[in-house]
């Protein structure tokens, strides 16, 4: 390096440049400052989530009832899968810090292996998140949206959820999707829901043990279940749309803001994980090619490590505020 950088004659003088008062290199310090600004972005999102949640404190969806699935297993297992995802991410953080440590000892083989494991952990995490999204978008029981945008779900008299497509009965009068060819040519309409509200209402009439559950949380912390008469009246008077699953417009689990924030925050985090994996892969190949061996320092691994730990750090908070609190 001495051959490429000219001596300025200011070495060792306090204000002459070339000092490292923080005992950290430029690159590492800037990574820390980037992390600060990124942390503020994420806290902006999470605080906005908190804002909406405080605004709808009496009707926010209960996370334990939303995220209940585990791949390859049927049944109701809240929390298990996210706990697994959290553990995978912490584990990949550990292999990353082990790679940094091996880099300090200039041990190329170990750095290579630990980087490889970190990448695998990151990929498992992103894959799990994709699956989580898929399950959330598909939904499970379905619900009816009211004129006011609230969600009505169906339960039997023991409190267990009832799926819309198990009870919906064929109603007279067929509502066909509006297409350009048979109406206003400049207006189009998306796919219609599989069932109409009338069909769900007929099903409710035919099943005397089924009740409507609103999204309002009662004193015991559960969603309010209406009486039989109130259920029938509520669905008849207020139901307008059958909702299956969740997207940016509707959400069968409760207020659509919940789905919006879920997609936005976990999506933004997932994008960070993805970019982290890509940067890790680049560094991984540099390690294999011996770039850092020649450079005489594995500090690059340390810098990307900082980013990777930050992604883990954010997930710890997302986990708490989306799934636990």
């Amino acid at each position: 390096m001495d051959t490429t950088v000219a001596n300025t004659g200011a070495e060792g003088k306090t204000w002459g440049g070339g000092n490292e008062p923080l005992k950290a290199s430029y690159g590492k310090m800037m990574m820390w400052f980037f992390i600060v600004s990124d942390a503020l972005t994420f806290s902006g999102f999470l605080a906005a989530y908190g804002f909406s949640r405080f605004k709808y404190i009496g009707s926010w969806p209960i996370a334990d009832e939303v995220f209940t699935h585990v791949p390859f297993f049927h049944g109701n297992y809240p929390m298990i899968y996210v706990a697994f995802m959290t553990f995978v991410l912490i584990m990949s953080s550990v292999t990353m810090v082990l790679a940094v440590d091996a880099g300090h000892h200039m041990n190329k083989t170990k750095v290579t292996w630990y980087m490889f494991l970190t990448i695998i952990g990151g990929l498992i995490f992103v894959g799990s998140q994709a699956w989580e999204w898929g399950t959330f978008i598909k939904g499970d029981y379905g619900a009816v949206q009211t004129k006011g945008g609230n969600i009505l779900q169906l339960v039997d008299n023991t409190g267990h959820r009832v799926a819309i497509n198990d009870i919906a009965l064929d109603a007279h009068g067929e509502r066909v999707a509006h297409e350009r060819k048979n109406g206003l040519w400049f207006v189009d309409e998306g796919t219609l829901p599989a069932y109409t509200v009338d069909e769900v209402y007929n099903g409710l009439v035919a099943n005397p043990n089924v009740l409507v559950r609103t999204q309002i949380i009662n004193e015991e912390g559960h969603k309010t279940v209406l009486s039989r008469e109130a259920s029938l009246a509520k669905l008849k008077d207020e139901g307008v749309l059958v909702v299956q699953g969740a997207n940016l417009k509707v959400n069968e689990y409760g207020t659509s803001l919940f789905a919006d924030f879920f997609f936005f925050i976990t999506g933004f985090h997932g994008f960070h994980v993805l970019s982290g994996v890509i940067i890790n892969i680049i560094i991984f190949f540099n390690v294999i090619l011996g770039t850092y061996e020649r450079r005489g320092s594995y500090e690059m691994v340390e810098k990307v490590g900082l980013y990777w730990h930050f992604v883990d750090l954010v997930w710890v908070f997302v986990f708490t505020f989306f799934y636990l609190v």
């Binding site: 008062p21 923080l22 005992k23 950290a24 310090m29 820390w32 400052f33 600060v36 942390a39 503020l40 806290s43 902006g44 605080a47 906005a48 908190g50 804002f51 909406s52 949640r53 405080f54 605004k55 709808y56 404190i57 009496g58 009707s59 334990d64 809240p78 929390m79 298990i80 706990a83 959290t86 553990f87 912490i90 584990m91 953080s93 550990v94 990353m96 810090v97 082990l98 940094v100 440590d101 300090h104 009211t146 006011g148 609230n150 609103t214 207020e238 320092s297 490590g305 900082l306 730990h309 930050f310 883990d312 750090l313 710890v316 908070f317 986990f319 708490t320 799934y323 636990l324 609190v325």
Partner: protein, 126 residues
């Protein structure tokens, strides 16, 4: 380049022999906290349901455990423990101050809007 690591956690209560050993030690601690969180989240013990400062006690427990986890990730995995005091304060105090401010403003406002809704000025249930 010399890389000295401070090998004590819990204010010197536990001292590790090497940096690698410290990493595994911290992992065990973090996994333990996560396990406690998950178990509390699944069973939701009745004794934690009391209200405390406007929130359920359980939620406070979760938030405190999360901050503890964040501390150990930053201090030991990101080696904040080994950085100079000045760098540490620049990064940590700045973010903590700004984040607390942001959270205060937004949650205060959210609570206010909720009170307007629930006092019956806005019809929501139709």
């Amino acid at each position: 380049m010399a890389h000295e690591h401070k090998l004590e956690i819990f204010r010197g209560l536990v001292k590790f022999k090497s940096n690698t050993q410290k990493i595994w030690g911290v992992l065990i601690f973090l996994a333990l906290i996560t396990a406690v969180e998950v178990i509390l989240g699944i069973y939701k013990p009745e004794s934690f349901m009391a209200k405390f400062l406007g929130m359920k006690l359980l939620n406070w427990v979760f938030i405190i455990l999360t901050i503890v986890k964040a501390y150990y990730i930053t201090w030991d995995f990101m080696h904040m423990r080994d950085e100079t005091k000045a760098l540490r304060r620049m990064v940590v105090w700045t973010s903590i101050f700004l984040i607390c401010y942001l959270i205060f403003i937004l949650l205060q406002e959210g609570g206010y809007i909720e009170s307007v809704y629930s006092n019956g000025y806005v019809k929501k249930d139709f």
